[in-house]
């Protein structure tokens, strides 16, 4: 398929375009008005602050983070050596168009439209992904939602706006759930973050509709270093959804996001992610939630894309009877390593945590589960339940499990179950005898394996998820 992105553009624009045609699925004719250049120095930080017009304290915050980033070693003593393939000097740490990408539906490649069909992507999302403005005005959808939310007192802006215009709300928690020095990549994010969602839900406000990441349109789309902070005040409830099932093309090879959640007394935050970055991306994410008294933080996470994902959503249960949960699905195909898990830190009495992780390794894919559960001696009545199941499809598929459970004191209950299995030959024969070919049988078996977790995702995603897994399974048999 030949799609010439430059054909309909004028000479100046064509010159300004820098498109990498060697990888990815489809290309935006992008015009980068703001470009920090390659590599990371103090100048890069200042460039970013200047473009954004960041307050002085943010500028200082970023500079300090750069120092921390430089001091910290790569964690290859425990993580994969593949991390050494990241070349920090060629990465562009800040790119912006200044305006949203615009395209009409006729300019969208046929293959892209077909992918949307096959995955059952909702109309609004298709428009956003294709950079189309005309037909499905996502900007309009966004402004409508903004009006509703403003009436309720909800704040839903990007990180730059959040820190500049709502400092009194966000600054107290910014960098508290995940300090700059938490790890090398949270330090990196703290230095160059841009984009992401800053959300505040007032006391008692329980949002009925989930907030979608793509509603928040701004010029820094597909942020490499997104910074998200969600604060649910006492008794508030919110569900936030990010990511999508369509493969995302990125010139950048490194994505390092930080997500901080704060659920105050009696509040509930659910954060749903479906990640399907293209296969050249290093996706290194730090996600953590703080749950106060009677509050709940729930991570519902699905990782299908990227070359390497390292992500361990965590919950610190700081108030009595707080609850933390991580529901995780990972699919690793050839050339992929999904290194995921969860961290549950119990810091108050009668707190409960639940981890359910299911991974599928296909071809030569590698899935790793790392789980940390920490219950200290002085606490009483805490409970943790962990279940991690791995499914190996082919003979070279790989899975590893590293549970680290530290429970001290008495009057606690901890349960850990793990399993590794293959799709049984008998089961495949049974399904084929009913008329399903090998590929269909395998898909059905895999969907069955993750079925109870897929049901946790909002409906819009669960249909796409099933189809996406079917697509990934194609070609894995035979």
């Amino acid at each position: 398929m030949s799609y010439d992105a430059t054909s309909s553009l004028d000479a100046d624009t064509r010159e300004a375009i820098d498109i990498d045609r060697t990888k990815g699925d489809f290309h935006f004719p992008e015009r980068h008005k703001f470009d920090a250049g390659r590599g990371l120095t103090e100048k890069t930080i200042d460039y970013i602050c200047d473009v954004k017009n960041d307050p002085q304290w943010v500028r200082e915050f970023r500079h300090k983070a750069l120092q921390v980033f430089r001091e910290k070693p790569m964690p290859t003593n425990w993580a994969t050596k593949d991390l050494e393939n990241i070349d920090f000097d060629i990465i562009r740490y800040y790119l912006s168009d200044g305006e949203k990408p615009k395209r009409s539906w006729d300019e969208v490649p046929e293959e892209v439209l077909k992918t949307f069909e096959r995955l059952g992507i909702p109309e609004q999302e298709r428009a956003f992904l294709a950079g189309v403005e005309a037909q499905y005005d996502s900007e309009a959808a966004y402004s409508n939602m903004k009006d509703e939310l403003t009436k309720l007192g909800v704040i839903f802006v990007n990180s730059t706006e959040g820190l500049k215009n709502h400092e009194e709300i966000f600054r107290p928690w910014f960098g508290k759930v995940i300090p700059t020095s938490d790890n090398k990549f949270s330090a990196l994010n703290s230095a160059v973050f841009s984009g992401g969602s800053f959300i505040y839900i007032p006391k008692g406000v329980k949002l009925k509709q989930p907030l979608q990441a793509y509603f928040r349109i701004n010029s820094e789309n597909f942020g490499q270093f997104e910074r998200t902070l969600i604060i649910a005040d006492e008794g508030a409830e919110v569900m936030y959804m990010e990511g999508c099932t369509a493969p995302k093309f990125e010139t950048s090879t490194l994505h390092s996001a930080v997500v901080e959640l704060v659920a105050l007394k009696g509040a509930k935050i659910q954060y749903v992610t479906v990640q399907n970055w293209s296969s050249n991306v290093f996706n290194l994410v730090t996600k953590r939630g703080l749950a106060m008294e009677d509050a709940e933080v729930r991570w519902i996470d699905c990782n299908i894309g990227s070359r390497l994902t390292m992500k361990y959503p965590g919950v610190i249960m700081k108030g009595e009877r707080a609850r933390g949960e991580v529901i995780s699905i990972a699919l690793a195909n050839s050339g992929q390593h999904q290194d995921t898990g969860a961290k549950m830190i119990h810091a108050a009495n009668n707190t409960t945590s639940n981890i359910v992780s299911k991974s599928i390794s296909v071809g030569e894919g590698r899935a790793t589960y790392r789980g940390q559960v920490h219950i200290p001696k002085h606490l009483k009545g805490c409970k943790n339940n962990t279940e991690c199941d791995a499914l190996l499809i082919n003979s070279h598929s790989r899975t590893d499990t590293y549970p680290a459970i530290t429970v001290r004191g008495n009057q606690h209950a901890t349960q850990h179950e793990a399993s590794v299995s293959q799709v049984s030959e008998d089961m495949l024969f049974y399904m084929q005898q009913r008329g399903l070919n090998e590929g269909q049988a395998m898909s059905l078996a895999v969907n069955g394996f993750i079925n109870d977790l897929v049901r946790e995702f909002p409906m819009e995603y669960s249909v796409e998820l099933k189809r996406l897994i079917d697509l990934e399974m194609e070609g894995s048999v035979g």
């Binding site: 049974y430 084929q432 005898q433 008329g435 070919n437 078996a445």
Partner: protein, 252 residues
């Protein structure tokens, strides 16, 4: 429809011969029973016809309406009309009974055509009613946690829904109490038709009280050694398989 098995020889993967020249014809509209002692190769015969990869066909042929089934993959045979009611049906965790049967029916439709959901459920419920199966079985994962009897009934349900040309029932009666047996027989009998053939593999005469066969064959040491009418089953019931030691390889 007719299933014609001609001098079929098959071995295990290690070369041990299990089927040593089986010849049998099941014409449309007839019910044939195969009986025989353990190890005679009855179950193996059913698996070889279905296409199980654990067996190697060394010679002979099996045709369905003149078409060579060995040219077909497991699922192609199924879509051509071969149905095997398993002796030990597999569990399929996380896949509901309704979705599983639906996927099986969908696979038989031409590409692009979608199964009509309303008609499907109507059909499914009526067959479940015939088999006195509680509606809750539609949402349960296929065979997961089912009792032996429930699994066998689920096999018959699938058979009723898929409407095959040749039904091979591999020891469907094993592990069933009388009441369950009667219901299974009801389902099987409901499928008797001039276009359909049936092959019942069983140890015991009891099943044949409820599903009356047209012909009975006795299999021993990988071959069919005797054939007769329904009275042959009664004779076996009375005499046991001892007679085979004398008759052994004498052709029927």
């Amino acid at each position: 429809m007719s299933l014609v098995i001609k001098d079929l020889h098959a071995t295990l993967e290690d070369g041990t011969e299990i089927l040593k020249g089986v010849s049998l014809e099941v014409p449309a509209g007839e019910v044939h029973a195969i009986m025989g002692p353990n190890g005679s190769g009855k179950s193996t015969l059913s698996k070889v016809i279905a296409g199980h990869e654990g067996y190697i066909v060394t010679s002979g042929s099996v045709t369905l309406d003149g078409e060579d089934i060995f040219e077909m993959s497991i699922d192609e045979r199924s879509r051509a009309g071969v149905f095997l009611a398993f002796q030990y049906p597999s569990e399929v965790p996380g896949v509901s009974n309704a979705n599983f049967i639906r996927a099986a029916l969908q696979s038989r439709l031409p590409k692009g055509e979608e199964l009509d959901a309303v008609a499907y459920y109507k059909n499914l419920y009526s067959k479940m009613d015939l088999l006195e199966m509680d509606r809750k079985f539609t949402a349960r994962s296929v065979n997961e946690g089912f009792s032996g009897g429930e699994k066998k009934r689920n096999e018959i349900l699938q058979m009723l829904m898929l409407e095959p040309k040749i039904c091979i029932l591999d020891e469907t009666d094993s592990g069933l109490d009388i009441d369950a047996l009667k219901i299974v027989a009801k389902g099987v009998n409901a499928m008797r038709s001039p276009d359909r053939g049936m092959l019942l593999i069983t140890h015991y005469q009891r099943l044949l009280d409820y599903i009356k066969p047209d012909h009975v064959h006795v299999m021993s040491a990988g071959k069919i050694v005797r054939s007769g009418g329904p009275e042959l089953a009664l004779e076996l019931e009375a005499e046991g398989y001892e007679f085979l030691k004398d008759d052994a390889l004498a052709p029927a």
